[in-house]
């Protein structure tokens, strides 16, 4: 499984949000897209998952034009957790997670046992199995986010796209979510593509980082190669030092004192 985007251009009306974008995503990797507000991170994520139409360029999934896939077929290959999602307040965790099976069901046709098995697996893998009878409004923000991730997992995608999965969460839930993503990637080999705001977290969990600036790709590569003093100045206009600490595998960003 691989996704290749070539020379993608996305526009909202007259405004070109993303241009000349090449992306190559491989299964099994965690790729994080970073960049300042309005740099086109989420737009790229939406374009390569077909949530948004692009004006120019092509996205290939396994060498085939992504537009040629049926919408259900696509949903069996990739799972997307958009930034905005809602659930009716009375929906139980289990109900919500079971929606992930929709791409596998057609009118009057479904495999109940298999659905059940995968729904339970996804809830256990994300640690929400014990919440399954609770309504979604009774879950904390962090729990709810895990429930949504479980819903996406239930699609059994080869690649999972998460648009700012940690926004609105407190730090402990942010870290929990990141640990969960890392765990899922390690254990089941699922590819993960995320948009993140927190550069520290991006450094920690990613195999590869893509940096966006003003709708274009600024750079791409291993976290420690991409997140540099120069990049921080160029892209974010922020002064900082990148420091290594003994015993940690990844460097830290130390911002200039305010």
């Amino acid at each position: 499984m691989e996704i290749k985007a070539q020379q993608i251009q996305v526009a909202y009306g007259e405004y070109i949000a993303v241009k000349d974008m090449d992306i190559h995503l491989k299964k099994g990797e965690i790729t994080t897209i970073i960049g300042p507000n309005g740099s086109g991170k989420s737009t790229v994520l939406k374009a390569i998952t077909r949530l948004l139409k692009y004006k120019k360029g092509t996205v290939y999934m396994n060498e085939k034009d992504m537009l040629s896939f049926g919408s259900k077929e696509l949903a069996r290959h990739i799972g997307v957790l958009p930034q905005s999602h809602t659930a009716p307040p009375d929906f139980k965790v289990k109900d919500l997670v079971s929606y992930g099976r929709m791409p596998y069901q057609s009118f009057g046709k479904r495999n109940k046992e298999e659905d059940e098995r995968i729904i339970n697996w996804a809830m256990k893998a994300t640690g929400v199995y014990d919440l399954r009878e609770k309504s979604i409004t009774q879950c904390s923000g962090g729990e709810a986010q895990r429930v949504w991730i479980a819903t996406v997992l239930t699609q059994q995608p080869e690649m999972m796209f998460l648009d700012e999965p940690t926004t609105y969460l407190d730090i402990s839930h942010q870290l929990d979510t990141m640990k969960l993503v890392k765990k899922l990637n390690k254990e089941s080999g699922i590819g993960v593509v995320m948009v993140l705001h927190d550069l520290g977290q991006a450094l920690e969990v990613s195999d590869r980082i893509i940096v966006m600036k003003q709708g274009k790709k600024y750079g791409e590569g291993k976290p420690e190669e991409v997140v540099t003093k120069k990049m921080m100045k160029d892209v974010y206009n922020v002064d900082c030092d990148i420091v290594w600490i003994d015993g940690r595998k990844k460097p830290l960003i130390v911002y200039k004192e305010i």
Binding site: R76, L81, P89, Y99, Q138
Partner: protein, 337 residues
């Protein structure tokens, strides 16, 4: 947030369905015996099983029974229509009026009754056509790279007001022959017979079967457009199909008995409180509940004032409005969030 649990889905679906069925049966029995001429059940049974014609037999079999069946079907159709539209618009205030069904039917009906009175016989056909046309107009105006709920609602407001103005003007200019129009505007089951039952039952059964095919997409649309899309739902297509089924259901009833408001708006809400938002259970419960409520309203309408019939449309509006406000205040807090 704790209160949310107490508000929603507290009752078992099976219990709710059985209670509603029992209530419907009781209502049928009551409705068949009350009216301007009241009969007791044993009396009715005795007369019906007898050979030959008797006034009781005529009233019960040719007037009350078809009327009961009509009320049940109309209640089910309007409630289902409202339930579907509430998912399409992602808005709990959507009802068949939102997409122009009422205004379109009223426009066509007024035109026929007031300007072409000789064609009044084909009124249902024109009302249905008017409803469909208004609905189509609203959707094509709202179309811009897909159908966005807000745009549908806004273009609905605009087109509804234009059609409303036309209807009002027409009525002002022809104020001497308003009787028929008024009867249409305040949907009434009075004087309906097996003829209407036969026609509506065909439309109703087709529509309700189609609506069961909408359950999946109606549910998925509740999760937000992007989430629905990423689950493999064709969001625009689903919106249009769901709206088409909803318009068809509502237009069928409007064509047969005129406009009855509030059922499509209120019933899905109550159903949601009773069994939750999952359309797989919420929609069938809406159908049953709608049948109950409309039959109840019609029975009240034709028995509360002796010697006079109050159209069911008026009973619904009078009782539905305050009830809706009450629910809004009671559960506003949990629904608003």
């Amino acid at each position: 947030m704790k209160s949310a649990k107490n508000m929603y889905g507290v009752m078992k679906v099976g219990t709710v369905v059985i209670v509603l069925l029992i209530m419907l049966a009781i209502l049928c029995v009551v409705s068949i015996s009350v009216g301007s001429a009241g009969y007791s059940i044993p009396e009715i049974l005795q007369q019906i099983t007898k050979e030959g014609k008797s006034p009781v037999k005529v009233i019960v079999l040719n007037l009350r029974l078809p009327r009961i069946l009509l009320a049940i079907m109309i209640g089910a159709c309007l409630s289902t229509s409202g339930a579907l539209l509430q998912s399409v618009m992602k808005n709990p205030l959507a009802d068949p009026g939102t997409i122009g069904v009422s205004a379109g039917a009223a426009t066509a009906a007024s035109t026929i009754i007031l300007l072409f009175p000789t064609m009044t016989g084909s009124l249902p056909l024109f009302a249905f056509g008017g409803a469909a046309l208004a609905c189509f107009l609203i959707y094509s105006m709202a179309w811009k790279r897909g159908v966005d709920p807000t745009r549908i609602i806004l273009s609905g407001v605009a087109i509804n007001s234009v059609l409303g103005a036309y209807t009002s003007l027409l009525q002002m200019l022809n104020s001497d022959s308003l009787q028929g129009v008024l009867a249409f505007m305040n949907g009434s089951l009075s004087g309906k017979s097996w003829y209407e039952v036969r026609i509506l039952s065909v439309y109703c059964i087709i529509g309700l079967i189609l609506s069961f095919g909408c359950v999946k997409s109606a549910n998925a649309l509740q999760l937000g457009d992007e989430m629905a899309k990423s689950l493999g739902i064709k969001v625009n297509l689903s919106r249009i199909l769901l709206s088409a089924v909803a318009a068809y259901l509502a237009a069928s009833t409007v064509a047969m008995v005129g406009m009855i408001g509030f059922v499509g708006l209120v019933v899905p809400h109550i159903a949601r409180i009773l069994v939750g938002s999952n359309y797989k259970v919420m929609m069938p419960v809406s159908m049953l509940l709608g049948a109950n409520i409309l039959l109840f309203a019609d029975t009240i309408g034709r028995s509360i004032v002796p010697g006079m019939e109050i159209p069911v449309g008026i009973v619904m509006a009078v009782s539905g409005g305050p009830f809706f406000l009450y629910m809004l205040r009671k559960k506003g807090a949990s629904y608003g969030n």
